[in-house]
Symmetry: C2
Subunit: 216 residues, 2 copies
């Protein structure tokens, strides 16, 4: 990513187990829509949970045009963080307990997507990214809906990733202790779909739902 010796570069250097190649960043960003957008209002930090999606080397997120979070992030420095929890790592001392996670922090200046056609295309991509083919099956967005929606983008430029996998790393002498150590893997799974009671008779679960990409 950027090689400028900024404060953020220094932060990245402190990150253990750093993985900075774009394929790694992309794979983590694509593994879940959940992200946490950091921004400031009057110098104070805020972290808003939302959904993101990626197209090429940008991520996008959206919400109501009235949203203070979005207004405060537009053309402002943001930090967008994604973190997937893969497991609890239990060691023989408290200190070596850990967690298996895949995380990305993205830094930069968020920019609004302003062109209505581009906004519509982005929103369709967001839906289709989760549920392939669904956007074309929906009632199209109205002009008013598009106006009421703000989409922000962030170029994937200054970024850091951190991945931890595997079992505990204990102090050598602690391996002699009769303490159970290991990993409790966790993952996000989907339950049976819950059809809306107002679905029309004969409307079955669509392929886009059957083919949803899952999380993790």
């Amino acid at each position: 990513m950027s090689n400028a010796p900024t404060d953020r570069t220094r932060l990245r250097r402190m990150y253990e187990r750093g993985h900075y190649d774009k394929d790694t960043l992309y794979s983590i960003l694509d593994a879940t829509p959940q992200c946490f957008v950091g921004y400031t209002i009057d110098g104070a930090p805020y972290v808003t949970p939302t959904f993101h999606w990626r197209e090429g080397n940008h991520i996008y997120w959206h919400g109501s045009s009235a949203s203070r979070a979005l207004k405060s992030s537009n053309e402002a420095q943001v930090c967008v963080t994604v973190s997937l929890l893969d497991g609890f790592v239990l060691a023989r001392s408290g200190m070596h307990h850990s967690a298996n996670t895949r995380s990305v922090m993205l830094f930069g200046t968020a920019q609004k997507v302003t062109d209505p056609e581009e906004k519509e295309a982005k929103l369709c991509r967001f839906v289709d990214g989760l549920f392939p083919g669904r956007a074309a099956s929906l009632r199209p967005n109205t002009t008013q809906e598009l106006k009421a929606t703000t989409i922000l983008s962030l170029e994937i430029n200054e970024a850091s990733a951190k991945i931890r996998t595997g079992g505990p790393g204990d102090d050598e002498e602690d391996y002699a202790l009769p303490i159970w150590a290991g990993v409790i893997p966790v993952k996000m799974v989907a339950g049976p779909v819950e059809p809306d009671p107002r679905n029309l008779p004969g409307v079955e679960v669509s392929d886009d739902v059957k083919n949803w990409r899952g999380i993790g």
Copy 2:
């Protein structure tokens, strides 16, 4: 929480579906250890994923004393956000797609826990909160380990919560469309435990692991 008409109060007012009673806040904070800490460095926002735990009306998080994230958060304004994803809500228009989530944003000034005995007690509580009874079974923390660990606390004072449950809420006329709508529920589940290959012969999975509280 605080009734001061601050900017943050205004932010809270904009939050849809607000639930501000402490039991609701506590139940969301207790449902997962995963949190996202927002802080600033030179005015720029950062969001660091970490684990928290709650004792009474405070939450705590910890890390290496060398951590820039912790140093920058200590005695500084922070925003700690927790968000649990419970489901994807599929509607008949893109606009009414949504997500079932439980989220909390906490605001305030983080404070370091400085007393070594208190630090030890807090760390044990963290471990026991996830794996009841485990702390007493472990090799105790050393003075050096405690010194190398920073624990930050935040009082649960200024806060906001947001909960969405249930199916889609479509525009009335869209219910006539032959589009499948409904919810894909998701949850975090644990897989089979993976014992460390270096566990001593005869050391079986301990009760604290069998009784771990899960997530969600």
